[in-house]
């Protein structure tokens, strides 16, 4: 991503033109950038700082991100509460959904891109029309099915319905279409079965798409909130999102407890932030190195 959106190559000609315009706009642009960066980063500074404050100080100096008196009381409170369990549940759900999605979406995407079977067009249409239904509209219907299948309040009920997503299937399909047909033909002629061709030839070539789907699935299921409030009510099955949401209605005791809330928000953001930054770099490197030498 770092390279994707960077500036375009400017010709010498345009560079001269640019110089002529002088630096009058340059400092304006930087001023605007710094202004927006402050707006975007300051809430996170406050979040980090407040999580190391005492309750009293958090309320007294809400704007100052640097604590006068550092304390990890908020984190200790979380550790003694159900927070570790929520973290574990989120991890279980997210890993299962991510692995499952990458596999299932890739298989389906490949079938839609390359395999000729009766009803392919119909299935494609079905997927598109399912995608057109807003997610919020589906909350009650999904709950109804979970109850009918005795999957309400189970890990299975929280994971399985998220395993296939139409958007992911289409991302994979688009990528598989762009892979030259000759590669697969060569594998076929060498006697590889369809599954073998897919697994050993096509999927490794689709690494950028697989990584994209992995990031999207991880982020999507880690941050998923509405589905986890309708698919369970057992507190033991709370994920980070639904568990931390219960803090807003004073789940961990009385008072504002801002440091505890900020600490919870901080801890649940860290994994996504790590994946985001790590994969971003990996992506840029992989983009160049991912090309398969034939």
């Amino acid at each position: 991503m770092t390279t994707t959106l960077s500036g375009r190559d400017t010709s010498v000609h345009s560079a001269e033109l640019q110089k002529k315009r002088g630096f009058s706009t340059a400092w304006l642009v930087y001023l605007a950038l710094i202004f927006f960066a402050l707006i975007y980063l300051f809430p996170f500074f406050i979040q980090i700082g407040t999580s190391f404050k005492t309750d009293v100080e958090a309320t007294a100096t809400p704007l100052n991100p640097i604590p006068k008196m550092w304390t990890t009381a908020a984190f200790q409170t979380l550790a003694q509460a159900d927070f570790p369990r929520w973290f574990m549940n989120s991890t279980i759900v997210t890993l299962s959904v991510t692995v499952g999605r990458v596999l299932i979406d890739s298989l389906a995407g490949y079938a839609l891109a390359r395999l000729h079977f009766t009803g392919r067009k119909a299935i494609g249409l079905l997927i598109i029309s399912v995608m057109a239904v807003p997610g919020v509209v589906l909350l009650i219907p999904k709950y109804l099915v979970l109850v009918q299948l005795n999957m309400y309040d189970t890990y299975a009920g929280m994971i399985i319905p998220l395993l296939a997503d139409a958007a992911g299937i289409f991302i994979m399909r688009q990528f598989f279409i762009s892979i030259p047909l000759e590669v697969e033909e060569a594998a076929r002629i060498d006697g590889a079965s369809t599954l073998r061709t897919f697994w050993s030839v096509v999927l490794p070539m689709a690494r950028p798409a697989v990584i994209t789907l992995t990031i999207l699935s991880f982020q999507g299921s880690w941050n998923e909130f509405s589905y986890f409030i309708v698919s369970r009510k057992d507190p033991a099955l709370n994920t980070l999102t639904s568990g931390v949401a219960s803090l807003t209605s004073g789940a961990l005791g009385s008072g504002n407890m801002f440091p505890v809330k900020m600490a919870a928000a901080l801890l649940m953001t860290i994994p996504v932030a790590l994946v985001f930054f790590f994969f971003q770099r990996f992506f840029v490197q992989g983009a160049g190195a991912g090309a398969v030498k034939g």
Partner: protein
């Protein structure tokens, strides 16, 4: 298909040496095996999609037409026809008033969030697109970061920032403004403005504004504007989504031909003219995409509402999505809840339709590699959003020259 089959046939045995019947059988078996493999690959996804998306939709249609109370199987419930829809749309009772209130709240939310987030995203993209910019990657990441974080975490932070004695009011105090008690203030901003200008007395609106009603609300209630509490949620939404849409604008700005811009420069166009007559027209397809996604997303606002006051204070942050959830899961009115969900669905479809009609002269979508919806109209925030992310992410990956 044919190429593959031919090559496989050749690989298997010379077709000329086969009898016609055998050849047919061979082809059929290959087609059969393709069929089998295809369905085998498709099966896991198809089963999940049908079981957890298609079946539920039909089940919900049934529930919205029945008097199911949440106990036992919905299939055993009694069919009541369009009773719930009638109660919601013309019943004159609390159900209609609540839906009207939620529609009004959501309407003001959409009217403010969509233009503001589009403007913010465009502004961020334009300043980031400046050539020879230092620290572009850092700034882009900073602006995009809220988009990847959880709505729950962001909502908690904003709840803290917007408390009565919180950071926002501290900043306002520096500027000499006495900040409101954000999440406890149900007063409509529109009312406050009319009141301040002395046009309408807030506590004693004129009779012509209080007579008659539409969806259980009179004219005065319809022009309330978003409540102060809703404004905090609007701020959060604009701040969070700005980065997402910024990426789309950035990707499109990369495709604006430099030479046209230079030609305009040579012709003596000012920076503003170049932006207005070169850049903006080139961005039209992206505007279309961003506004569509914005409309679809803002009519579904749920997470923030659930986290920031559950429709309160005084129902001033109630939205149809949350009302649908609340009616079903809290009040046990499943039929009504699902009916609200379908009414919302209809609104979203109509909105997308209107928007498509208004901007109908640009059917073309941005020229980018591997766009999913070149062949399928972007009707879903999920797809288009994911694709847009994917395309921006994978733009550098060479696709054709991989071998």
């Amino acid at each position: 298909m044919s190429i593959v089959e031919a090559s496989r046939d050749k690989g298997a045995q010379d077709p000329k040496a086969m009898k016609p019947a055998a050849r047919k059988r061979k082809a059929a078996s290959i087609r059969g095996s393709q069929n089998r493999t295809g369905w085998l690959f498709m099966a896991p996804a198809a089963i999940i999609l049908v079981l957890f998306l298609v079946v539920p939709i039909f089940g919900a249609v049934w529930v919205s037409l029945s008097d199911w109370k949440g106990k036992g199987s919905p299939l055993g419930a009694e069919f009541v026809g369009f009773k719930h829809y009638e109660a919601l749309l013309s019943g004159g009772g609390l159900a209609q008033k609540d839906l009207g209130t939620s529609l009004r709240n959501n309407m003001f939310y959409v009217i403010l969030v969509v233009p503001l987030q589009t403007l913010l995203a465009l502004t961020l993209a334009v300043i980031l697109n400046k050539r020879r910019l230092k620290g572009r990657g850092f700034f882009r990441t900073a602006f995009y970061f809220p988009s990847v974080t959880s709505s729950v975490a962001i909502s908690l932070v904003f709840l803290f920032l917007f408390t009565a004695s919180g950071a926002i009011n501290k900043i306002l105090a520096w500027l000499g403004v006495n900040g409101p008690n954000w999440f406890a203030d149900p007063r409509g901003v529109g009312h406050l403005v009319l009141n301040a200008w002395g046009i309408v007395d807030m506590n004693n609106p004129p009779a012509w504004m209080s007579n008659g009603s539409f969806m259980g609300l009179d004219l005065f209630q319809w022009i309330s504007g978003p409540s102060v509490a809703m404004c905090a949620i609007i701020a959060l939404a604009v701040w969070t989504t700005g980065g997402t849409f910024m990426l789309m604008f950035l990707a499109a700005l990369q495709d604006v031909p430099v030479d046209v811009d230079e030609a305009a420069m040579v012709d003596g166009a000012t920076a503003w003219q170049r932006f207005r007559f070169v850049t903006v027209p080139a961005l039209k397809p992206t505007f279309y995409l961003v506004i569509t996604l914005g409309l679809i997303g803002t009519w579904q606002v749920f997470d923030q509402i659930y986290l920031m006051g559950k429709g309160g204070p005084a129902k001033s942050t109630l939205t149809p999505a949350f009302l649908s959830y609340q009616s079903s899961f809290n009040d046990g009115k499943w039929g009504q809840g699902t009916a609200i969900a379908f009414i919302l669905f209809a609104i979203i479809i109509v909105m997308s339709g209107i928007q498509r009609f208004v901007m109908r002269d640009n059917k073309k979508l941005p020229k980018r590699k591997r766009m999913v919806f070149v062949e399928t109209p972007a009707t879903s925030a999920g797809v288009a959003g994911a694709t847009a992310t994917a395309t921006t992410l994978s733009k550098t990956t060479p696709s054709k020259d991989k071998i």
